[in-house]
Amino acid sequence: MPTTTIAVNQDVLAAKKQRAKEQRQLFTTQGTFVINLVSSPGAGKTSLLQATARYWQNRFRVGVLVGDLATDRDAGRLRPYVPVEQLTTGGACHLELSLVQQGLSRLPQQQYDFLFIENIGNLVCPASHDLGEHVRVVVLSTTEGDDKPGKYPKMFRTSQAMVISKSDLLPYVPFSVEAAIQDARLIQPDLVTILTSSTRDEGLQDWCQFLEDARKEMLASRDADAAEQLTASEKSVA
């Protein structure tokens, strides 16, 4: 029987990436700015979201999808502040778009200005999975060591911002903020960096300003695209 070799030469995740891109376009159309929060376990993602909700005090409509291997604990911590849905992965080490879409259908159906997706605590696997977010933010806590960016290059390369969390602990741990930033920017030169403490509500103004600006930018480019399309269609009519 003849043997034949079929050349495919395609990204195995191409179809999933395409679906994520479509989901991102949908979020943009709806005016929802989506943040994928990633970190190692316990870096302070849930605490940052609690502090963010406290800081904004209902100025924005915020929703949260939170990934958890087995429990409902993080969702329980966030429920007093914002609409939240739990995504239980049943042991899987990362979130995928299909889980996010299921969670979206369970969230109260209303307009959201910001949607946060708290990923599973893991600096490896979530790096490969686009969830349709506008920005990926990696949270690095001061207790983890300032050498971590270089050890998890894909996660830092694919993130647009880094939150250095637990700044209140800096006096007690050998962690250089400058060294961490320098290390991360070797991999991702455009990385935005923000220093926060959720227990002392420090750095939240910088963090929230970054989010608000990024959302405004998304809305402006969406409206510019729409205007351009309108002009193009007017021209084709003329």
């Binding site: 003849p2 043997t3 995740l13 191409a14 490969s128």
Partner: protein
């Protein structure tokens, strides 16, 4: 580790391809990984060994091609291979580099045995697989607008 979910995606694609080509057997699946693919070659092989019995052609072999991290400088247009994860152009020192290879998990080739009567040609209705079938940029894992 997410290697199992990647292998499942891979095997699903190979099944589809084999069906389109009326394959009688799949012999070899060749994939490419690089330093920023987010895939560990050994774990990938392990996951493949664990899952291949669920596959229609459990005798197929997985061959993993490891490539380096190739970048294109956006300032001077020169191509180079990074030896570590320092994103600095070797020619001009610019940090504005685009990854052109080594950051994805790619299916390269599938070797299969086909029935003579079909001559290895896919069904007329089958979707053709080609590079960039989705019109996606195949480099850089996440392309944010």
């Amino acid at each position: 580790m997410h290697e199992e979910s990647l292998i499942r995606s891979l095997l699903r694609q190979v099944e589809e391809l084999a069906q389109q080509h009326h394959a009688r057997a799949v012999d070899e699946i060749e994939v490419e990984v690089g330093p920023l693919s987010g895939v560990e070659p050994l774990l990938l092989q392990d996951a493949f060994e664990r899952l291949k019995d669920e596959f229609s052609w459990p005798r197929a072999e997985l061959s993993v091609l490891q490539v380096g991290l190739d970048v294109l400088c956006q300032s001077c247009q020169s191509e180079s291979q990074l030896k570590d994860f320092r994103f600095v152009c070797h020619q001009c020192g610019s940090t504005s580099l685009k990854i052109i290879r080594g950051d994805a998990f790619r299916l390269l080739n599938v070797s299969m045995q086909v029935d003579d009567s079909f001559n290895g040609k896919p069904q007329a209705t089958a979707t053709q697989h080609s590079t960039d079938a989705c019109g996606l940029p195949l480099n850089e894992q996440t392309s944010h607008p």
